[in-house]
Symmetry: C2
Subunit: 516 residues, 2 copies
Amino acid sequence: MTTRSWWGWGTVEDAVTPDERQHLVTRVRSVLPNADLTLHTPPDPKTLALPDPRISPSELYSTDPVDRLAHARGQAYRDVVRNLAGDIGTVPDAVARPRTEQDVVRILDHCGSNGIAVIPFGGGTSVVGGVEPRNLDGPVVTLDLQHLNRVLEVDPVSRAARIQAGVLGPALEAQLKPHGFTLRHFPQSFEFSTLGGWLATRAGGHYATLGTHIDDFVESLRVVTPVGISESRRLPGSGAGPSPDRLFLGSEGTLGVITEAWLRVQRPPVHRAGASVRFASWERAVEAVRVIAQSGLHPANCRLLDPAEAFLNAGEPGSVLVLGFESADHPVDAHLRRALELCDGEVVEGVAQRWRGSFLRMPYQRDALAQHAMITETFETACTWDRFAELHAAVTEAATAVLAEVCGAGIVTCRFTHVYPDGPAPYYGIYAPGRWGSLHRQWDEIKAAVSEALINAGGTITHHHAVGRDHMPWYSRQRPDVFGAALAGAKAALDPAGVLNPGVLTTRTSAGPAPR
Amino acid sequence: MTTRSWWGWGTVEDAVTPDERQHLVTRVRSVLPNADLTLHTPPDPKTLALPDPRISPSELYSTDPVDRLAHARGQAYRDVVRNLAGDIGTVPDAVARPRTEQDVVRILDHCGSNGIAVIPFGGGTSVVGGVEPRNLDGPVVTLDLQHLNRVLEVDPVSRAARIQAGVLGPALEAQLKPHGFTLRHFPQSFEFSTLGGWLATRAGGHYATLGTHIDDFVESLRVVTPVGISESRRLPGSGAGPSPDRLFLGSEGTLGVITEAWLRVQRPPVHRAGASVRFASWERAVEAVRVIAQSGLHPANCRLLDPAEAFLNAGEPGSVLVLGFESADHPVDAHLRRALELCDGEVVEGVAQRWRGSFLRMPYQRDALAQHAMITETFETACTWDRFAELHAAVTEAATAVLAEVCGAGIVTCRFTHVYPDGPAPYYGIYAPGRWGSLHRQWDEIKAAVSEALINAGGTITHHHAVGRDHMPWYSRQRPDVFGAALAGAKAALDPAGVLNPGVLTTRTSAGPAPR
């Protein structure tokens, strides 16, 4: 039995060890010798004074203070450092844990009739303020579907499974395994995020090409809305009007609560081929990735690491491409050979394994570093190939400049998480020394500056981290106003009382940083 | 220079020759010896009395009678036989041919302010009553974007092109060709349908797997709506809220007028491998196609013909699978070899070529047969593999029964146009002797019976022919009511005067056949 951390990522048991912490601190000191790396420990949550709940506890609603606190925000750096500082902000009045879909209906009815905001929590791993009752004055219920955690049905002929939305990644895979299937959707948050959260936020998964988002695996959705339940037909494809599922995918809890879905599942791969390639320059590496992305070879993995990313997270010099092919049906060696022909670089060993090891520890390490007042954050986007060089220069420049201004120094890294024939999905990391006591305000300034650069350079404010509250100012500029009006019209029809995750997607805010 | 037929498919010059007609009639007589195959010729359109237009002709509006007549309906069998009978129904008051996007804005402004319905025409190849002012009492303008017919920009790095919506298939490909690119979207209507029509109806194209619908090639859309212009960012992928493009794709002219789009284009294939396989039974053929669809081999062509389809349209006995692989980058022989390993049938020669020849002549032959009072129609759907056998039996039974009842006899054929890991897109053809003078009423009965069977068996009312007016009763049942409410909310926001293609998608109608 493990214990979820109340203030940071994952479980208490898996947090960094003293040795790992020492190693991290030493590594940071080697690149940022002037950083003040004093260790700060989190407060005891029981000592934090919560406002009295404005909702009575009941069979459906828990008002336990630590429960409320653990559901007050997500897992953004901004969230973690506020927790560490004991800055609890707005906390939900109650946590609802429905045991059935009918309970969800009852909760939405109750909240709709009483003007209570409802925030679907997923696994609570939002890194964009998606589950935080920020700027909400009225009562708030956070909805945790943890009891709706079962694979209900498997159709081995069509290779699809009906799955409840509250299931966490590992439990989902464990229930599919006896049937010989896998969903193979592995976001970094896999252990602690839910199917419903993936669907509501259009999460990005395992595959670098083809099925990059969970969207592509959706056969049908079942959604409880304040005006009724929407269930789309199980269909492999359709052209009957705009896709109902595509409206709910990415709706981030603002149109309804996804309770279950039919997902396309697959046989686990038995054929695999992979290699890593080091390039003489970042530009030549990008060009090779573009050619591979346009080749129709469809690598499962096509992760390009820039020199900083390769060095920090895989101990490897240069720009390195981690390539992988897989199939449950046929050998893929020829695919790898052809992809390597398209790369003018040298094959290097062991990078994929080392990088994967780092990848899984990253969230824990981020929190450990936060305790030493280090600011670490990620920005992810997508753009067309013709704009990438310019976007990359602009984002790197903006990030470097804002880190210098706000933190005095900092490191910017880049990798590609997913690639498309018409463009990459670049993922930026920043590491900088912060000032204890000002971390989340510093973060806000950095976030704003880099988001401005992304949006001005033609990128999307998010490729797979969702919009939440943190991205709203830039989402409002990215999204066509006319589509914003359509979405508001759809929301008014489905959520007439406006109780579903207020402040996300359909509320316009002027451009600028998140409230402080 | 060719002349478009005013009453039927395509051009006057490409209509069936006397020899081809004689051959068709002889073939029909061989299977339906009692059919009355008297030839009926279309009326002179100048003799058909049109109501006076309620809109004044102007630079933007043509009120020429033959122009109005040629824009009064699409190319469904129902449309063709009404034309042949001189039954002109409701005709638009004017045809608008904007020369610029600003003209489109002016037309929507004028129509919105004056309660004039606007029907975007595309290329007028709708087979579902999508462009017909059926049941509209007020004035109607049909919008023909034929002048917005250019490829405006090609981005060779990202492999994308910005294209105006009014361009027909051949002109689109001709403009891409000098750049070394192709869209490779070839619906059967290719010659006479437009990009805007494909987008608004989620048309199905060349590829049997992966990019089956035009949707998958859309990078961004520009749409004129009554409340403003919506333009989405060019993005290879995004997770920022529900996809704006996916709301307009399939909106069938009810939310706005698509004026241009960025489409993902490709290099033409240089590597090809194909073969056709005959199976001992339909069931074994279906099973092989399922295994191939789930193999990850991604054939470009995977067209399964049932014995009736193979015999009628390729002169081949048995159930035959036409398989094809293609690539612009790498050999695909290994893919074909593996797919053939998955088939327990015998390779047969020449089927693909013969079938393709028939495929392109089908619409002309349908019209020639209509002149002999033959009823020919298609029904297309998609369903999951686990339901296919049942759906197939139900549709075949319903079609056979209704043909026996309404026509005394008839033939039902089936093929797969597209296949997915979780299910096929079956396409049914029917051929039956009708009664001159009652053809469209007979058609309505057949359409209703087969559509009922499709919907009751869990299929979609359309995989790639759109909803239009003909499919509305069944679409209303297929679509979740809650999604219908969301769509109505979105429409009310974008088209407050309700002038855009009234009667399609957002109007509820009770289940039942189309009005007579």
